[in-house]
Amino acid sequence: MNALGIIFSDMQDWSMTELASHRSVGAIPFGGRYRLIDFPLSNMVNSGINKLCIITRSNYRSLMEHVGSGKDWDLSRKKGGILIFPPYAVGENHGLFQGRLDALKRVLDYISSSKEKYVILSDCDIIYNINYKDVIKYHEEKNSDITAVYINTNINNNNSTHKIIYSFDDDKRACDILVYPVTNGVHDVGLNTWVMNKDFLESLIHDAIARNYKDFSYDVLARKVHSLRIYGYEYQGYYAHIDSLQSYYENSIGLLKNDNLSKLFYSKIGPIYTKTKDSTPTKYCNDSNVKNSLIASGCTIEGTVENSIIFRNVKIGKNTVVKNSIIMQHGIIGENAQLNSIITDTYAQVTNDRVLLGYSNCPFFIKKNSIV
């Protein structure tokens, strides 16, 4: 497809201190075997995009390790392929970038030298399945400067902190854009995905350099809502916005409800690709008892697991009961332990006989590599 993909791996890591303390948002594990970046990457690959870059800011080791050459997304190509941009200094721009526009300024050379007609910008904090071909077609039809993908959904002020709210006229042209407002009710909520003509993006970046604009949401969307033709493309279907530990937990466990698994993983758009690992199939023992759970490969389950997400290479010991919990890869839960509403980060261990309780609106988080 005639489009360049730009994925921002950590525009939001300030809001997810626990999960993103040592990794980029894009590298946060999700859904048993994925990381958040797999969803935008797979959307792009499934839409036929074969040239894209990932802009990352800090703690990008696990992200780079995950993406590697891009071959697991079929992006290890002679033409196009994938490129990761860690922070680097250009001219007077030193230190970390301070916003989406600031980040784009630094990869202007890459954008300018690309031959593609369109650019798709996407973040990693929103999980959904979309075919960008449809968005680009719509973008052409509306002759818009910027096409923003949104969903019409109900939000409450507990989880509205990191959302961009659009107001559209009858033609779906944006007439008001609010960035991170505190609000309730049904709104047109942005999915942090924008389509532009590449030439237009370049002109935006030149303008931003001249005016020292740094933030795309405030300085372009909100400030220029009337002067630019910003149109909304409505998405309908499964979506999850991960912007806090709580929403991470709810959306993870939420996969086990309402047919969400088949909506996300068996959609018409295509499969979700991820880094392949050579894990063995998962082994269940004589006393294992698993209900309504998603279990990745390489696990050994000897105990009871209910309403939980179990990542790759996890061991659950005998007589242990894990409920409503998320156990990330390489977690080891010993024998006779009880866990309810717990998130254990990667390589965490819970030793024998421990009883750990969180609550559904306040899950208890166990850090990477820690031993309880």
Binding site: G31, G32, R33, K71, L261, L264, F265, Y266, P271, I272, Y273, T274, T276, D278, T280, P281, T282, K283, Y284, C285, N286, D287, S288, N289, V290, K291, N292, S293, L294, I295, A296, S297, G298, I309, I310
Partner: protein, 385 residues
């Protein structure tokens, strides 16, 4: 120096039909028969090679190679997409003179001497792609060098009553082979050849040519080449392998090898000696509220609503509400619809069964394994009373 030189080239015999696997090998060669939830039989040999540091592998194909060829692809699943060497499929080909199918294991190598020569190796490791085991071939090659042997044959102790199924050899205390009999009626030892040979390449070349000129030869390593080398007083040694090794040439042994993956005392797939395989992009497995899974292994993308006991469930398998799977091997992308009962069976890939059907007979009755061939759709059948 020639960049392409390799100390050891592997020749993997993957052309056999495996006729004793019946319907399972009707459309595919035996090495590509699925095994253990996510693997194919050839994965074990290929992974052993890579883990042993061997990266130049010729795969000799003949019978129904389509699935095998596309499965292997460029070899990247086993890290065998290399600048030099890597994996190469070697089908029979037409030459200037006589063209022929591979008439035996030795003839298959004989016809591909040019492939081996381009790497100018000291040694050639000949393997067959139809066994389940984990083995470090580099130790065997080291042994071969230490003994200054011309040929080293890997052997494993088998029960005496089974010995007449194998090539049986006798060796002295140093491991030097005294005699070798292919499938003897009255075996004189329990040291069975595993069909794994290390040859000095120049010696092997000589004997392959000699054997090719013998009109009475069946062009087989076990029947012809090894006896010829022995009678010519070459130095043949036996290398003892200890560990799990299973020939999966029959329906029963294939079923047993799968069952050996269950419990704690059989064959462990995990550990540092990783068995690589080609991936399918599937989400994690989902076990529903009413599912019961006991003593089984289950692969990615499986969706289980029913009961699974003592079974191997491959990727993408769907098992409906109240369906019961016992003592069975359910291969990839099979759908067992609700209220169906599967006992003691091997269900090949992409089969659809049910609803409300019974396949197989309970294991206790000892009536043997039921096999349902690839892509069958069974939705009506007289229900067994």
């Amino acid at each position: 120096m020639k960049l392409t030189k390799k100390e050891c080239v592997v020749m993997l015999l993957a052309g056999g039909q495996g006729s004793r696997l019946g319907d399972l090998t009707k459309k595919i060669a035996k090495p590509s028969v699925p095994f253990g939830g996510k693997y194919r039989i050839i994965d074990f040999t290929l992974s052993n090679c890579v883990n042993s540091g061997l990266d130049t592998i010729g795969v000799l194909t003949q019978y129904q190679p389509l699935v095998l060829n596309s499965y292997i692809g460029d070899g990247k699943s086993w890290d065998l997409d290399r600048m030099y060497g890597g994996i190469q499929i070697l089908p029979p080909y037409q030459g200037m003179g006589d063209s022929e199918w591979y008439s035996g294991t030795a003839n298959a190598i004989f016809q591909n001497m040019d492939y081996i020569d381009q790497y100018a190796p000291e040694y050639v490791l000949v393997l067959s792609g139809d066994h389940i085991y984990k083995m470090d071939y580099s130790l065997m090659i080291k042994f071969h060098k230490e003994k200054d042997a011309d040929c080293t044959i890997s052997v494993i102790d088998v029960p005496l009553k089974e010995a007449s199924r194998f090539g049986i050899l006798n060796a002295d205390s140093e491991g030097k082979i005294i005699d070798f009999e292919e499938k003897p009626k009255k075996p004189r030892s329990t040291k069975a050849s595993m069909g794994i040979y290390v040859f000095n390449w120049q010696k092997l070349k000589k004997y392959l040519s000699l054997d090719d000129n013998n009109p009475n030869s069946s062009k087989d390593f076990g029947k012809d080449v090894i006896p010829l080398m022995l009678s010519s007083n070459e130095k043949l040694y036996s290398y003892e392998f200890k560990g799990y090794w299973k020939d999966v040439g029959t329906i029963d042994s294939l079923w047993e090898a799968n069952m050996d993956l269950l419990g704690c005392n059989g064959f462990d797939l995990s550990g540092d000696w990783v068995i690589y395989s080609r991936h399918t992009e599937m989400p994690p497995q989902y076990l529903s509220e009413n599912s019961k899974v006991r003593n089984s292994i289950v692969s990615e993308g499986a969706v289980i609503y029913g009961t699974v006991e003592n079974s191997i469930i491959f990727s993408g398998v769907k098992i409906g509400e109240n369906a019961v799977i016992r003592d069975s091997v359910i291969m990839a992308d099979v759908e067992i619809k609700e209220n169906s009962i599967i006992n003691n069976s091997i269900i090949d890939e992409m089969v659809v069964i049910g609803p409300k059907l019974k396949i197989g007979t309970p294991k206790d009755l000892n009536l043997g394994i039921t096999v349902i061939p690839r892509e069958s759709i069974i939705n009506s059948m007289k229900e067994e009373e």
